[in-house]
């Protein structure tokens, strides 16, 4: 009898549809990345967070001003982020100040 039960149970599991795991909306957790505060942060927040978390900023390594300018320009040119010229400069200065390596080039 016991063996029979086991067989039945196995059969049931095998018959369960494979698509059982996502019957409802999944929730991606929110992570508070330790981004540095400072001049221009509000502009960074308004422009950058639309597309990506601060994790992207803090995990690039310390970089030159040219690097950060290139990243911001990539967002504008390739990803079509509507960043104004004024904001562009504020963002680059912020990134270089807090995540820069002290070098212009």
């Amino acid at each position: 009898m016991k063996a029979m039960k086991k067989v039945l149970l196995t059969a049931l599991i095998a018959a369960t549809p494979m698509m059982a795991q996502v019957k409802e909306k999944i929730e991606v957790p929110y992570i508070a990345f330790p981004i540095k505060m400072g001049k221009g942060f509000d502009v960074v927040q308004a422009n950058c967070l639309m597309c990506h978390s601060f994790g992207y900023i803090i995990n690039q390594g310390r970089q030159s001003k040219k690097f950060w300018a290139g990243k911001v320009d990539k967002m504008i040119v390739h990803f079509k982020a509507p960043i104004t010229d004024k904001d562009r400069k504020v963002i680059i200065d912020y990134l270089f100040k807090h995540y820069g390596n002290g070098k212009e080039q």
């Binding site: 996502v22 991606v28 992570i31 597309c51 990506h52 978390s53 994790g55 995990n59 690039q60 970089q63």
Partner: protein, 401 residues
């Protein structure tokens, strides 16, 4: 403080990987960063992993997982590109659409995919082209991955070739554009599309709905993703919705601008003088990673110690893994598993030895593939601006006590 030392001592906070870097040691590639801890928050269907970003999710597998031939689904790395990833899929209504230069347009439901086509399986390594990027000096742009932006799984699905045959490819067609469901915040942002030449389609290229015997985890591309064994993961489109057959190659941001290396013999350049011509990253080079012991582990003097890890390449297959305990002066063969998972999968290796000297000990692992290609020392790997294709000999430093 040297950048490398900074990384070694850098703290990790709130599930975020730490930032490193001050004075750059110009041009010398080193071991990838290896001190990052898993976060304290688990993402859907995952255990806590090394967390670089939540939107889009970027999660790295910790080193100790790389002792098994198949990476558990809940520890498999995650990498998306766009902020808007569907968080719900109606599995009854979801279809993969085949259109363009085909005789008959198809809308294949998941049920049809599983019932109307031959079901095939392939074990294959999925690795981000930027895996181990943190090894490059000066810092290459992009997420500073350690060695865990990779995994190996048994993928089950349907040959892409069979699907295209069902649709019937028209004469003159040459290219396939495969698109996933992730979307940008702005309408104008280029979509994440991968183009494949029809000649690239061998029988191992599949549309997979299962990974290691389970549905694909949501964050690994549920319900279906492209599997191109031997090729870097930017080509393995997730949550596929559309495949368009065309006669012309369309220049794409991610293929022609983002995931590229210098198109020269060494695939290298310098930060001052970038090589003008580039090519998309494609077939993976030979690589191995030690899963045990991990950096900083303590081994007992004269105990029976064992080194374990995984090795793989772009599909030629692994011939040998060698271990050195004397800084690379002498190398000894490790024992490889049977290789029954096939040439695209991890070959696990193990190597037993007795530590006979107290103090720090460097364990090095080097894989050699069946073409005779072997891993270089990390210091011999030349720089490229995207920090792609690092495959240096893996080094783990332990302490014998």
């Amino acid at each position: 403080m040297k950048r490398r030392e900074f990384f070694k001592t850098a703290a990790v906070t709130a599930g975020a990987a730490a930032l490193g870097g001050t004075a750059a040691e110009a041009g010398v590639t080193h071991q990838p960063v290896d001190n990052r801890k898993v976060g304290n928050i688990a993402f859907p269907e995952k255990r806590p992993l090394i967390t670089y970003s939540d939107r889009p999710p970027l999660l790295e597998t910790p080193r100790e997982v790389f002792t098994c031939a198949l990476t558990p689904n809940d520890q498999f790395f995650v990498r998306w590109h766009m902020p808007d990833i569907p968080t719900y899929i109606d599995t009854d209504k979801f279809t993969i659409n085949i259109n363009g230069m085909v005789k008959k347009e198809l809308k294949i439901t998941l049920k049809e995919l599983k019932e109307d086509f031959e079901q095939v399986e392939v074990a294959a390594v999925l690795q981000c082209g930027g895996n181990s990027r943190s090894a490059f000096e000066p810092t290459a742009g992009g997420i500073q991955w350690g060695s865990g932006a990779m995994g190996c799984a048994l993928w089950k699905g349907v040959r892409l070739r069979d699907i295209l045959d069902r649709a019937g490819i028209k004469k003159g067609a040459e290219w396939l554009a495969v698109q996933g469901s992730e979307k940008a915040a702005y309408y104008e942002t280029p979509n994440f599309i991968r183009e494949l030449h029809l000649d690239e389609l061998d029988d191992h290229v599949i549309i997979a709905y299962q990974m290691n015997g389970e549905d694909l985890p949501y964050l690994n591309g549920f319900p279906v993703r492209l599997v191109i064994p031997g090729v870097y993961s930017d080509s393995w489109i997730k949550m596929i919705t559309n495949i368009t057959v065309t006669d012309k190659y369309k220049k794409l941001f991610f293929m022609d601008h983002a995931y590229v290396v210098p198109d020269n013999e060494c695939e290298c350049e310098t930060p001052e003088k970038k090589f003008p011509k580039t090519k998309p990253i494609y077939r993976m080079n030979v690589k191995s990673v030690i899963g045990y012991p991990t950096n900083g582990a303590k081994l007992t003097l004269k105990s029976q110690a064992v080194v374990r890890g995984v090795a793989f390449d772009g599909g030629a297959g692994i011939r040998e893994v060698q271990i050195s305990l004397d800084g690379g002066k002498t190398w000894d063969k490790a024992i490889l598993d049977s290789g029954k998972l096939g040439r695209y999968a991890y070959r696990t290796f193990r190597y037993g030895f007795k530590p006979n000297k107290l103090g720090k000990l460097e364990i090095m692992a080097k894989a050699i593939n069946k073409l005779g290609e072997e891993q270089p020392l990390s210091k011999d790997i030349k720089w490229n601006h995207g920090g792609y294709k690092y495959n240096g000999i893996d080094v783990v430093t332990v302490e014998v006590v």
